[in-house]
């Protein structure tokens, strides 16, 4: 598909026009940081943000959502969110995470709640302009993407290049009436941005190809690193909550004030939390903190990859690194230590 070019103020008009007809979410200033929120006007959109506090996967697997309503003692009614929306400003690493979640929620048992939202979404991804303090997407091969969004936007300085990657994206771009065709020099500038990002979104450098991680972990189950790192772990679950590929959840019933009806809700849960594996009778299967710490890393680079064709389920966003108070969550630190101790084989 052809690549179009929009001047920056025309891009704002393009977004403002979409806001008139659909809900639009995008990265905005939140205190000294950024987070995705509903956009009221394009001027609030920060296409040059570094990283959002929470990943945009929250629009498909919300922090809290109603799965169904019920009558006490009676039947259940499924609740599906079918409102179309546009998600603007998704960075490549977060896009990779969304595409991984798409596989996980559609394969084996099709999760209609996630997938209904996903099907009603149009995703406008954008190449990173400002690397965040802890990003390591270059190490994970997620710094740039060629697919997975509906539209891909790149800031080339004197404007934005917009590429429709799907039919849905082409329909959206058709409303950008002031767009011109990108010329060869524009395309060169776009390539230059990507060439830089490919290498420079790398505040923590993994000392091996990320594809080697499952093999590395298969030799590292009993390594002392888990005990050592987990020694100062608060079991707060912050690393879980901010992670774009953490999708564990809990389900709870909430009875309405009338005591006759209510809703069954799904909410975010985290495998680092004490009690995550506890069953009735107080038996807890993963009671040791170091084992829960290990489980998170194994899920990212061994267990989940086996379910999604080998893709590593850590996209290098660096959010866990920033969120962790005792500074033990950095996956690169752990993988590199294992590489130093175990070598490559």
């Amino acid at each position: 598909m052809t690549v179009k070019k929009l001047a920056k103020n025309d891009f704002d008009s393009f977004i403002d026009a979409i806001i008139q007809s659909k809900k639009v979410y995008g990265p905005q200033v939140k205190g000294e940081k950024y987070d995705f929120a509903q956009l009221n006007a394009a001027q609030d959109l920060c296409m040059d943000y570094d990283v959002s506090l929470l990943p945009p996967t929250k629009y498909f697997l919300p922090v809290r959502e109603t799965l169904m309503t019920f009558e006490v003692g009676g039947g259940y009614t499924s609740q599906q969110d079918e409102e179309p929306f546009v998600l603007v400003g998704v960075h490549p690493y977060d896009l990779v995470a969304i595409n991984q979640m798409d596989i996980l929620f559609s394969q084996d048992n099709y999760d209609s709640h996630y997938m209904t939202r996903r099907k009603h979404a149009t995703i406008v991804a954008c190449d990173v302009v400002t690397p965040s303090a802890n990003v390591f997407a270059s190490s994970m091969g997620t710094a740039v993407v060629k697919e997975g969004a509906d539209v891909l936007v790149t800031d080339i300085g004197d404007g934005y290049l917009l590429e429709a990657m799907t039919d849905k994206g082409a329909i959206l771009l058709a409303s950008a009436t002031r767009a011109t065709e990108a010329d060869a020099s524009d395309m060169q500038k776009r390539q230059a941005v990507r060439d830089v990002n490919q290498k420079s979104l790398n505040k923590h450098e993994l000392k091996c190809d990320s594809a080697y991680l499952p093999k590395l972990l298969s030799q590292a189950y009993d390594h002392s690193v888990w005990e050592e790192m987990a020694e100062t772990c608060f079991a707060c679950g912050s690393c879980n909550v901010v992670c774009p590929t953490c999708y564990c959840f809990d389900v709870k019933d909430d009875v309405n004030w009338d005591m006759a009806s209510g809703k069954r809700e799904r909410c975010v849960d985290g495998c680092l939390l004490d009690g995550f594996t506890k069953v009735a009778g107080d038996h807890e299967f993963r009671k040791v903190q170091a084992h829960r710490f290990r489980h998170r890393l194994f899920r990212k680079a061994k267990y989940v990859p086996a379910k999604i064709g080998g893709q590593i389920a850590c996209v290098g966003c660096g959010r866990c690194v920033s969120a962790c108070l005792p500074n033990i969550a950095n996956p690169v630190t752990i993988y590199n230590k294992l590489l130093d101790d175990l070598g490559m084989s």
Binding site: G74, S78, F105, D250, R266
Partner: protein, 280 residues
């Protein structure tokens, strides 16, 4: 994202309604319930579990306690121990209950065990899931070899299904041995943990499939004893308990290393657990 795959809007988390047709309190904590789905067929195999749902309280997993060879609904046994199970204990014949299932892909080896001996090792409430397979075997008795059932219970008051166990003890085509962990003036049978019963049936181990279900602590000791008799690991089936919250391989709570108890189990072959240290 591909728009061409228009999956049905079936909601995998939505319970179907069932009616309780019979209940019986079996001891202080265990309640037997018979359920019939209000709509449509309910085809299950020994090893399948269901998520039982009480609106306003929540959902919890329970393995089906009856064999599909016995028609007219299915049975569960619920120990009163948490919010959902306490609410289930308040149900009576005629009550409605939400059911999701049957769930689980790792089931009892009803076909593979044909022509072989079967040794059931049951600890306490572990009898419940095993009962589905036991009754399946008893209803197809001629298709299996020697059958032995070893049952261990903590104390006299926690025994349940007493009449059914007495029926098994009286059959001459199976071996049934029961023991209590702690003795009791009302108990004239054996005293000791369930593993002490294995020696008595060692002659049938050579060709036996061994399904095991009991409290978490029991598995290690049963496996150690079976190891002494050189029972091949691919003939030992462990029915494992985990927090199977969603039951459909998404929520992550029941994960045992890379396995999902709800999807790969709940019945798992011991030989498949060599690289799964969290299993036992």
């Amino acid at each position: 994202m591909c728009d061409c795959c228009t999956e049905s809007k079936k909601d995998i988390y939505l319970p179907q309604m069932a009616t309780v047709t019979d209940t019986r309190l079996m001891n202080e904590t265990e309640m037997y319930l018979k359920l019939t789905m209000d709509d449509g067929p309910f085809d299950f195999q020994p090893g399948h579990f269901v998520e039982l749902s009480i609106a306003g309280i929540g959902e919890a997993p329970f393995t089906i306690a009856s064999s599909p060879t016995q028609k007219g609904g299915f049975e569960v046994v619920v120990r009163r121990i948490g919010n959902v199970s306490n609410a289930i204990h308040a149900l009576k014949a005629g009550s409605k209950i939400g059911v999701r299932g049957p769930l689980g892909d790792g089931l009892y080896p009803v076909q593979e065990a044909k022509g072989k001996n079967v040794l059931f090792v049951c600890g306490g409430i572990g009898l419940v899931p095993q009962r589905a397979f036991i009754n399946y075997v008893l209803d197809n008795r001629s298709e299996y070899g020697e059958v032995a059932i070893l049952m261990g219970t903590k104390n006299y008051d926690q025994r349940f299904f007493q009449e059914e166990l007495a029926g098994w003890a009286n059959r001459d085509d199976i071996t049934f041995v029961e023991t209590l962990d702690t003795g009791d003036p009302r108990w004239e049978g054996r005293v000791g943990v369930v593993t002490t019963l294995i020696e008595g049936v060692k002659d049938l181990l050579g060709n036996a499939v061994v399904p095991v279900c009991g409290p978490p602590i029991m598995y290690k000791f049963v496996l150690m004893t079976l190891e002494e008799y050189h029972v091949p690991h691919d003939r030992i089936y462990l029915n494992l308990e985990r927090k199977m919250k969603c039951g459909v391989g998404k929520c992550g709570h029941c994960q045992i290393n890379d396995l999902y108890c709800c999807m790969d189990g709940p019945v798992l072959k011991y030989s498949d657990l060599a690289a799964v240290p969290e299993a036992i």
